[in-house]
């Protein structure tokens, strides 16, 4: 039979089917004419006329029927041509024909499964030219719907394909240095797999890879981009709005460094934007999981990943907010699970740095999570205090920040939580007596001298609140005592300053903030509950309920994307306040009463 010319003759479908089969078989023998024409058709991509499209579709359909004749070694160029095609370059007719061909190819021969799946996974992301042409969103759903349904169809016929898919999806995850849009689209598809029919099989991989990627991006953002050298603020003052009036050493020029300046300066970084988008995507996904009743299972996987990756990362900045958001969706289950897990690591863990990290997470979480019921916070606090109590019970030794760092971390955590929640706890009689029974007084007054080791700003604020609330069973500060940064408190936490880690401080990522804000306790809320006169219990509750805690002009109307009102500053590492005094501060600047006298 003579070799027909593709462009000239017209065939019926079954004729073409016969020719194609013949071409494939002949190619194995060495006669490649028709075969080469077939390959050439597959390569056609740019500016296809209706006739071209029809030819392409028909050839693909014919190949679909002839897959059993395709041999991986003899038909390399044909396979390469098909697998190089991107669904994003064609219309829906070609897309359908191509996906059918892929499905057929994958089901016919085990050798082709890997290649077909790889091709489909590469179609999660369009070719780079796509982004420049600004195609509409309909194209995206046309392609991705087909890609995902083909993956499911292949899994139905080749039950072990999800095993291969899992590995492929993990390996083809884009690098952090890739542009934002491709990464976001890839993650979108990953999450779609998680919630799809194959969720049980590939879902946990998808979530773990996502968390790993978030941490990778997080780590790329340098802490120095967040901390400003000119900031002279304390842990708590940091968050407060530029109040009219006394704000310590607040100069006029420093005003520019507050609020949106830090936010903007920070958010123009590449990695921050990518992290922001990915986290928003994750939040949306968690919302869907919650609505379909799957959140607890998903959360358990996230918690596993958190324990391994986030907790152990050096001072993760924002990735942990994924946990925060998940907990806010389901406080009774996830919220409690998270707190329990952190407390367990602190109490029973083996590695000291991770225990300190865990209690820092716990303290920040209990302080900031608006959705947690106060009784639960009290119970968690009790666990931490109990451990500290047992620790120091049989120890008479003296102050030593390095040797007892886990203990000091526990004390600081307790004080930090109470700085935020003291008033709320005291308002409920049952919790007030629970607090009394914890005997925090004994722990803080112990010869190990935690009040001298923990961060001065926290100790200060804690004692000040004790005085204001007139709590008799918590340690009191004597009149002239002032907690300054001593050599002990600077040593605390070691070189890495583990003691200054407040992981759930206000998030600096603009889009994420919108999700976190309604569930977040801002320091200003706590302050305002003290500043108002004659605060009753209702007022305390009100102060926490208010969105911002302070009446500031409504700034939501302004470009919400760049400008984030007020209270999202990071109150993390307080500045080394020694430069206030023009140099390295001696450990005791004035004679003060030592804590033993308390």
């Amino acid at each position: 039979m003579g070799v027909p010319d593709m462009d000239e003759l017209s065939f019926t479908d079954s004729q073409l089917h016969y020719y194609v089969k013949d071409a494939l078989k002949s190619a194995i023998q060495g006669d490649c004419d028709f075969y080469n024409q077939l390959v050439a058709v597959m390569h056609r991509k740019e500016r296809l006329s209706a006739a071209d499209v029809a030819l392409l579709v028909t050839c693909l359909k014919a190949l679909t029927g002839a897959v059993s004749c395709i041999d991986i070694s003899h038909h390399k160029s044909l396979l390469a041509a098909i697998l190089r095609m991107s669904l994003w370059d064609y219309g829906t007719d070609v897309m359908d024909a191509l996906t059918d061909a892929l499905e057929s190819l994958a089901s016919s021969n085990g050798e082709h499964v890997n290649l077909c799946l790889e091709m489909l996974v590469s179609n999660f992301v369009p070719p780079s030219a796509y982004f420049e042409k600004h195609r509409g969103p309909s194209k995206k759903s046309e392609v991705l719907d087909r890609v995902h349904s083909t993956l499911i169809d292949i899994a139905n016929v080749v039950p072990l394909s999800p095993m291969i898919l899992e590995k492929l999806v993990r390996d083809k995850m884009p690098h952090v240095y890739v542009k934002e849009q491709p990464i976001v689209m890839y993650v979108e598809s990953m999450l779609r797999l998680e919630s799809g029919a194959m969720g049980e099989l590939v879902g946990s991989m998808a979530l773990i890879v996502l968390m790993d990627k978030l941490i990778e991006l997080d780590v790329e953002i340098a802490w120095k981009d967040i901390l400003e050298d000119d900031f002279q603020k304390d842990v708590f003052d940091f968050e407060l709005e530029d109040l009219a009036g006394p704000a310590d050493n607040f100069n006029q020029e420093n005003k520019d460094y507050t609020r949106e300046a830090s936010m903007q300066r920070f958010c123009t970084g590449n990695h921050a934007e990518k992290l922001d988008s990915l986290m928003v995507l994750t939040f949306e996904h968690l919302q869907c999981c919650y609505e379909t009743g799957r959140l607890v299972q998903v959360f358990e996987i996230l918690l596993q990943s958190f324990r391994i990756t986030v907790l152990t990362a050096y001072k993760s900045k924002f990735a942990q907010f994924v946990m925060f958001y998940a907990c806010s969706l389901d406080p009774e289950n996830c919220g409690k699970l998270f707190a329990d897990a952190l407390a367990d690591i602190f109490v029973n863990g083996v590695h000291p740095e991770w225990r300190m990290s865990a209690v820092a997470y716990l303290a920040s979480y209990l302080a900031r999570a608006k959705f947690l019921p106060i009784p639960l916070i009290a119970t968690m606090l009790e666990r931490v205090v109990d451990w500290c109590s047992k620790y120091c019970k049989n120890r008479g030794s003296d102050i030593n920040p390095k040797a007892h760092k886990v203990f000091y971390a526990g004390c600081q955590a307790t004080m930090y939580v109470l700085c935020f929640r003291m008033k709320q706890m005291l308002a409920l009689p049952r919790l007030k007596s629970q607090l009394k029974l914890m005997q925090i007084d004994d722990i803080l007054g112990h010869p190990l001298k935690p009040l001298q080791v923990c961060l001065p700003s926290i100790v200060d604020e804690f004692l000040r609140q004790v005085k204001e609330n007139r709590v008799c069973f918590l340690p009191e500060r004597l009149a002239d005592q002032d907690f300054l940064e001593s050599e002990h408190s600077t040593v605390f936490g070691g070189i890495e300053k583990q003691g200054m880690f407040f992981p759930f401080d206000p998030i600096l990522l603009a889009n994420c903030d919108r999700y976190i804000r309604p569930n977040y306790v801002y320091w200003s809320m706590v302050r305002s509950s003290y500043d108002e006169e004659g605060t009753s219990d209702e007022d305390v509750a009100d102060a926490y309920d208010r969105e911002d805690g302070m009446s500031i002009p409504d700034e939501e109307e302004s470009d919400a994307d760049e400008f984030i009102p007020g209270f999202e500053k990071m109150s993390i590492t307080p500045r080394d306040s020694s430069h206030r005094f023009g140099g390295r501060m001696p450990s005791k600047i004035r004679p003060s009463m030592s804590p033993e006298s308390l």
């Binding site: 085990g110 016929v157 039950p159 072990l160 291969i164």
Partner: protein
């Protein structure tokens, strides 16, 4: 079903020292890494395992870091289809050029149109694809039905079976079971030698089933 066999293996599992306090979990996870992969030592795909640890004592093996080796006996269920074996699987997809089935829930089997005997004709009835026998109208192959076919080849990497429906004793399992005389009669028109061959094949497959308890393979498993 042909292709399945049980064997007993003596194994040694080497564990990392960090697993010392959860050795049994670590052993089970090592054994599960064997599942659904073709293993040359055992000569088949491991589908299930049943370990019994012989003693609490383990030998510490010196090396870059000291591992400890736990000896155990395990019963393994192996799947190893060979050419000409008769297997059964559930039909998952029908096309004009192929029939796709899944064997034991994990292995995909495909029968290309060249391997489907002319007796079967592809039809579309009421939107549903079906293969109907031209000679026996009731002999149908539909999606969801059990298909009986002979093995042509087995891809050990992806556990993919290539099958054939050329032989008369293949087709829809239900119909074949109900109408044994129909297809064996069709068979008797073939030469006598062929029928003898068929009976001999039937006997050997029976033998495999009986030999379940006997083979003991001594193997060492490095992990």
């Amino acid at each position: 079903m042909a292709g399945l066999e049980e064997c007993e293996a003596n194994l040694v599992v080497f564990l990392h020292p960090s697993k010392a306090n959860c050795a049994s979990d670590a052993i089970l996870s090592e054994l599960s890494s064997l599942l659904f992969t073709y293993n040359e030592t055992f000569g088949g795909v491991v589908l299930a395992y049943d370990p019994s640890i012989r003693s609490n004592l383990a030998k510490i093996v010196p090396g870059t870091f000291p591992c400890f080796g736990v000896q155990l006996k395990a019963k393994l269920l192996l799947f190893n289809p060979k050419p000409d074996m008769v297997l059964e699987g559930e039909v998952v997809k029908l096309t004009p050029n192929s029939i796709h089935a899944v064997v034991l829930g994990f292995s995909s089997a495909v029968i290309a149109d060249d391997d489907i005997r002319d007796e079967f004709k592809h039809k579309v009835k009421g939107g549903e694809e079906v293969y109907v026998s031209r000679t026996h109208r009731k002999h149908k192959i539909k999606v969801g039905a059990i298909l009986r076919f002979t093995v042509k080849s087995f891809d050990e990497e992806i556990l993919h079976i290539s099958g054939s429906l050329l032989a008369p004793h293949t087709g829809g399992a239900r119909w074949l079971d109900k109408n044994t005389d129909e297809w064996s009669r069709a068979d008797s028109t073939a030469t006598k030698r062929n029928t003898d061959k068929l009976l001999i094949n039937g006997d050997t497959s029976m033998k495999n089933d009986e030999q379940i308890e006997k083979p003991k393979k001594r193997r060492r498993q490095q992990s």
